[in-house]
Amino acid sequence: MIIACISDNIEELIKLVKKSSEIADQIGAEIHTILFKYYYKEDEIEILKSSLNTDRIILLSNILLMKYDSEAFSLALMDYYKKYKPDLFVFNSSLASKEMAVKLSSKLNIPAMLDVKELKILDKKLIVKRDFAGGVYEATYETDIPFILTLLDSETSYISKLDRKREFEEMVVNTNVSRVLIRQTKKLNPRINELKNAKVIISVGEALKDKNDLKYIFEIANFLKAEVSCTRFLSTRKRWFDEWIGVSGIRVSPKLYVGIGISGEPFHIAGILKSEKILAIVTDPESNIINYADYIAICDLYKILPVLAKKVKKKYEKFLTES
């Protein structure tokens, strides 16, 4: 059995190989790591060649792989498939990798599943867990190999005791680019790692009417050493932040998550379920976030925020002076 690991970025690829070895060790599978020449830098490829505990590193080579293009990358993977017929393709769950995985699924007629949370292989059957209905539910699926999946979270503390072969092969592949032209790219600055590692997160929702209202939130966050973010609506439609919290954005797991003026649509809730404690400060007593909170304050946001900001400031200034 062969598990092929593919990612659109190097950090995710390293994690993916480690996670895949957890499964491969149990069932005696080989791990292939697929790299795209020109897309990965030469020094990155050298680092991966020397550090990855994998059976085979296959460098797919074609000048059209210089820039990410789902058509070019999935077509390139076809040539690899024809030669090795892997049983399982494991991708990371970035939007680019998901596109690539689905395109490959279409071209090979092998079914795919996205955003997989857990995976087991039992008697050549694949048992897969993933979110369902906005992430408030979890579904378990059963399917056969070959299969294609994108793995949502490849964090693992697993260390393989097997020393894999680490063979290297460069494979010149045929490919073609899509007929979509990119006119312009605007770089965003999503604080993915900051939010994933934050102990306290204050997140704001649509009940906050004006971006200027964020001044109270930042004052509170400053003293609490909290990260501030928002719901998808405020990020994509109002552009208050470059990222948002939720299953379609960033999934977070702080000690304390403070949701201010958040209605709590399921995709947002599913992204905060791993928080140790959730405090909901809302105006609307019907807000769905209330059903998932540990502490609930139903109040006028525009009355509580100035008072709270003042209180926090006073308390922590006193603390700083004393210490």
């Binding site: 689905v102 279409s106 079914p111 048992i127 605007k186 299953v247």
Partner: protein, 225 residues
Amino acid sequence: MNYPDKCALVEAIKLVRYYGGEVNVFSIANEKAIDVLKEALALGANSAVLISDPIFEDLDTLSKAKVAIAAIRKSKAYDVIMFGDVSVDSMNGQMGIIVADKLGLPHISNVVRLWNEDSKIVCEKRVEDKILICEARVPVVVVVTIDLNPFELYNIAYEEIEKVNKPILKWDAKFLGIKPEELSKKIKISSINKIEQQRERKIIYFNDYNELSEKILEIFEKSAK
């Protein structure tokens, strides 16, 4: 109606109002989807087709895409095929890409804004760390996100939906020329469980905002240590 699909529909209606053309809506579902298709007609779609057959139930996405493609091939010529990015239950989000791939069409996904320029569709596409402005010549497949249209603004009263008197066409496997052996159900759901949450759900009672802020501060101190 699945709200990402509604966003796609509303955008399609806006496009044809501005640039001309018509909107034809397809749903692969059982008879219950008639009401959804009536809603689509009430919103302004020109025609609606229910693609339904017992052999279409519980298909995997690749087979569902096969059914969709058969229906697209039976329908009128098209410039843009639009999909909502995910269904809110299965959260799958593969159909648009597969349909585009199988039909050999360009596709643009994660679209948050789009417009027409001559015979090109131009889209603003949002990915994790950038916004891309992309263009493709028609025919093209566009997969839109819920950011495109505030779907809540397009809710239609039940009475308006009931007034719809345009016919809803029904296409089955025989009409589409699909045989059962061409379809597969390779992925089976074995269980669906609610993610249990042990939450305290304590309501903070207060007499004034001073008191409430004190209580919130206590929570900050207790929970954020």
